[in-house]
Assembly symmetry: C2
Homo-oligomer: 350 residues x 2
């Protein structure tokens, strides 16, 4: 059902019925380390290139999702998937053997929001019983594509974020009764609360003219502010509706800007605001500067932190806002700004 | 409504209520030249880079779509858009001022199919009255990204296709009553037939191991064959259901492979088959080797050829199958194959 100018409210029950996450060593060493499903010590994931490693991560996340959900390939109609790399090669090569129709999306680090939004529409609209939403990033493939060769050892300013090596796969379903192996470390609360997607808000492309590829938080904060304001307006609510409003990867720098931008609009979310990029690493001990970033950041924190707390009913209403900086080496080298976009997913406990 | 394993049949009327196309000189010089809405002589479109030129084309196509349809920005809820460039920069910069929520998609040259499929679902599902589906490509930005600098003057084998400089924008709507300026050269038949999207088939990623970046037709033909077979199976039909089955950009080389692959499955579509890449240029006179390609190829031929014939009721049932080769300079340089994907749109005259 149409809600306001940018949003959709779902009439049917749309569940995030299962989530599966794969991460690397550095993410395992962070505060959420014990909450991920699969940790791989080898940063190459047994492959020959960073890109192949990221594809392998996507493949592993989907495999784990099938194991945890108890669903078979034939139960899933579509996969919405994306990553940060040009022409989505992590996705293409990660899913080429999956034998399920694939719809590729690109929203930079907002991709986890876009895939869940579109998957939820497919389920609510009666076009599918189960759809997989998938997103990934890899620190090394991202640095190679967007910034400097790792061997160059460039200095990182305080505003720089650290691209998460991780993939998150989610089963978006009309029903929520997993029959698979839910004995893993992050499924202890699975049977208590169910995660329902009650609505989505689709973001506009916002550009405040920031050109600093080492300050993605500043690039994305305006899109996050625009999205949160639109969500409140479209549903006729304010910050008190939510227990938690959580952005994707604004980091410490973007956090301050977002809170300031919203205050200018008369909105104060500080008491219930967090950012996936602030949760995944211990910034000081792990030397990750402004925090975590990448599609994989919101992609794995969603299950490890948010959904676990929805399941345990510690949280009952969450606005999940993955944020994307539309950075490209080509436009950056041509001197352009970094426009950004954010998509919002309303997740409630049942 | 779910149809078969990969397809959706629409219960409501979903119209392609309006189409607008922008092309360059070479496309204007081809057999469909008189059927495009806007032709720009300057290949830079008044901008400073090929990428900016492509963004400008997207912007112009959307502007023209508003003029032709008579709709305002506030009438349109979402834009689904994409292009061939890494991180979708043609789209990002083309749409950053549009003030409508944007959902970026990537399906290589199948993008026009993916954007129309998802836009149609939005309309059929009751999530929007009007959605814009948009795709573009530019010969020079594509050659720069995927192959050689233009100044290098590399030789082109007979299997090479020529990336179309073009953008196609389509209004996907629950109603079909344009009130805008339809006096343009390709709207003479507008009032006769209406184009209805009756169903879509979503493709799987198919990889036959072809590694030749100068033979996109061979890379994509297997995905097209898989899609056409799935469409027939899902709807319980055969080639006789359609007046025209038209792929995106297989070219002369891919055409033969597709027909052969389908014959192996016992399907013969030859009598009603065509390819957008074969229609847009006079291959011999214009030195375009195997034919046209790129998101913009199917993106502009859809309106200039297919929809014009739907409107004049020369065609009554068309299967439109944009085909995408998931080529990336990174994966190509690492020695990988070029997997492909195709999406199918069933367009019928009302």
């Amino acid at each position: 059902m149409i809600a306001g100018k940018q949003s959709i409210r779902f009439d049917k029950k749309v569940y995030i019925s299962c989530g599966a996450t794969v991460v690397g060593n550095k993410e395992y060493a962070g505060p959420l380390g014990g909450e991920f499903d699969i940790v791989v010590e080898d940063e190459m994931f047994g492959k020959n290139s960073w890109e192949e490693a990221e594809s392998r991560m996507q493949h592993m996340a989907v495999d784990k999702l099938f194991i945890k959900s108890g669903l078979k390939k034939s139960d899933v109609r579509y996969v919405f998937a994306g990553d940060l790399l040009g022409q989505l090669i992590a996705t293409t090569f990660g899913l080429k053997g999956i034998d399920i129709p694939v719809l590729g999306v690109y929203g930079a680090c907002s991709t986890m929001g876009e895939t869940i939004a579109l998957s939820s529409i497919m389920v609510d609209g009666g076009y599918a019983d189960n759809v997989i939403a998938l997103a990934s990033s890899h620190f090394a493939s991202a640095e190679k594509q967007f910034r400097f060769p790792l061997a160059y050892g460039n200095q990182r300013p305080e505003s720089a974020t650290w691209t998460v090596t991780g993939a998150g796969a989610y089963m978006i379903s009309g029903q929520c009764n997993n029959t698979g192996d839910v004995s893993g470390n992050n499924f202890m609360n699975e049977t208590v609360g169910k995660a329902v997607v009650t609505g989505v808000t689709v973001g506009k492309i916002v550009d405040y003219g920031v050109k600093d590829s080492m300050n993605m938080g500043a690039c994305m904060a305006p899109a996050a502010a625009s999205l949160i304001e639109a969500n409140f307006n479209d549903f006729g609510i304010d910050e008190n509706y939510y227990d938690l409003i959580i952005t994707g990867d604004l980091g410490y720098t973007g956090r301050i800007i977002l809170l300031d931008l919203l205050k200018e609009k008369g909105i104060n979310i500080e008491s219930r605001y967090n950012d996936c990029g602030l949760l995944i690493y211990d910034s000081e001990a792990q030397n990750t500067q402004s925090g975590g970033s990448g599609c994989g950041c919101s992609g794995v924190v969603l299950n490890a932190y948010i959904l676990n707390r929805i399941r345990s009913k510690t949280l009952s209403r969450v606005l999940f806002v993955p944020t994307g900086a539309m950075l490209s080496p080509v436009s950056f080298n041509e001197g352009h700004s970094v426009p950004s976009v954010a998509h919002g997913i309303m997740i409630e406990s049942e």
